[in-house]
Amino acid sequence: MRRLEPAAIGGIMSREVANFRTFWKSTVFSSTLEPVVYLLAFGLGLGSTVVKKVDGLDYVEFVGTGMVATAVIFSSALPAMFGTFVKHRFQRTYDAILAAPVDVEELVTAEMLWIGLRAGFFGTFPLIVSMAFGLDPSPGMLLVPLFGFVTALGFAGFGIATAATVSKIDQFSYVTTLFITPLFLVAGTFFPIDQLPKGVQIAAEFNPLHQLVELVRHACFGFEATDLLRLAALIVFALALWRVAVNRMEKRLID
């Protein structure tokens, strides 16, 4: 049997779909309401009193487009971390799957693809909500799910690798505080990174979320020549984290 069989990957994803059908309403609810709350607080609150324009954009447009990245990281890294840990340690789901003709590489690939697809889809919700707050639709926006998907793949890999590394679920707090929150804050979502110290600006260029924020803004307001490089960097990020996740999970799941 060859590697990465579509039937195995499809089978695992069909399990995710079957489970998702039982809780999709709550996901849609939170994916819709969260950007509304953020846009009301930051966009209308901060935007109407303190900050009118950022980088030539209305603050609502700036935050609305930036929040795609927030939605993507929170609907990829966190579900991957907690979901993987729970399925492995508490539900023993992976024991059942790996007893079937499925290997760890297929398992990780399927999990990443599913999380990527979901995050790519729900990552567009802030854009849709922002339209109600005045963001004009543009053809480039059709590429946003693709950008969200590629970035989410990388963060799903990060989450899976993390889950395969920690020994207790409460250790996720360290990961969230030390990695996810800083990545999310210096992505250029709520303020432009060119106001930060030079060193932080350089570091931010290596932040995949910042690259996603830039791609989404350019998709909405006009692409730049460097965007292909940004997309390539996100693809490399996803591929690298895929291999790390496979490697970590093999160590965790196979004695």
Partner: protein, 320 residues
């Protein structure tokens, strides 16, 4: 007093397994397999051969290495030494191909509890590349007697139904080899009996079964052959009746009484070279038919020797 052990009354008479056309003679071949976890050797130079068409009971106390052996067979553990061959596929290199033709029923319930009964089965039918998923699901639902509950979420099912579903899930690909890892652990007697009937039906249908268990009664009722495992090794193997005759003789006498009396009985039996073992509140004189000169008191309960006697004598553990 003389009794016939209930187990022996209910034991199903069975013949030697008939070789199945197209099956390898041995469905499982383990040769000098070693698996270590740090300083602990879970499986210690294990040799195990399972011919096609039989139900082999892997009987042993907790920590004997049964579950590790099962994980080795599914490729979820890699042996440090030795060779493994399952359904003519060498492991771990061709483990995936072997797993495609195996079914596995785990010790712990790992069903998706929020998902419907039929979706649980359909997912695994897809994982096993079953061509007609719907037909496979319908067949498994009928087998588990859950057709009328097909659209219910698993968490709405009783413990027995969930266990039947778990077994049916392991059969979704109509496997040539079924691995049952402690299939009835923690279940009440009624559900256990229900599952035994299902497993016995499969055995009768020619499916090769490797069943790990620490329940003596389970092994005695279902297994054509029993391999007694302890400390990662098989220390005895044979048909249950043969094992009993070889290791425990024909009869066992149980003596009840205060500790001082039990000590006296024990000493007297031991002086005649008889094996005496603790049996809860009693002492059991194994092979009591060989006793002479009052070694077996008149008030002893004499019963047919059982697999439990063999198990305790060989492993030194109290039976479950």
């Amino acid at each position: 007093m003389r009794t016939d052990a209930p187990l022996r009354k209910h034991r199903v008479a069975r013949c030697a397994p008939t070789p199945i056309l197209g099956e390898p003679m041995s469905v499982i071949e383990l040769n000098q397999v070693v698996k270590r976890f740090g300083d602990i050797t879970a499986v210690d130079h294990l040799d195990l051969d399972v011919p096609a068409g039989i139900c082999l009971g892997l009987l042993g106390p907790n920590g004997a290495g049964k579950s590790t052996t099962m994980r080795l067979l599914t490729g979820q553990a890699i042996a440090d030494e030795g060779t493994l061959r399952v359904l003519d596929f060498d492991l771990p290199e061709r483990s995936k191909e072997a797993r495609a033709e195996m079914g596995v029923v785990p010790q712990l319930d790992n069903l998706d509890v929020d998902v419907t009964v039929e979706d649980n089965l359909a997912v695994f039918a897809r994982l096993y590349r079953v061509k007609d998923v719907r037909a496979a699901v319908d067949r498994c639902l009928a087998l588990a007697r859950l057709t009328d509950r097909r659209r219910d979420a698993v968490d709405k099912l009783s413990g027995g139904m969930r266990r039947r579903l778990l077994l049916a899930r392991g059969l979704v690909n109509e496997p040539r080899l079924l691995l049952l890892d402690e299939p009835t652990v923690g279940l009440d007697p009624q559900i256990r009996t229900e599952l035994w009937s299902l497993i016995d039906g499969l055995r009768g249908g020619g499916t090769t079964i490797l069943m790990s268990t620490h329940y003596i009664e389970e092994a005695q009722r279902l297994a054509d052959e029993v391999a007694v495992m302890t400390a990662g090794k098989v220390i005895a193997r044979g048909r249950p009746d043969d094992l009993i005759l070889e290791h425990a003789g024909r009869e066992t006498a149980e003596v009840y009484g205060p500790p001082a009396r039990l000590a006296e009985v024990r000493a007297k039996a031991a002086s005649q070279g008889l094996t005496v073992r603790p049996a809860g509140p009693a002492v059991a004189i194994v092979g009591s038919e060989k006793a002479t000169d009052g070694a077996v008191p008149d008030d002893a309960v004499v019963r047919a020797a059982s697999l439990e006697d063999v198990f305790v004598m060989l492993t030194g553990e109290e039976a479950a």
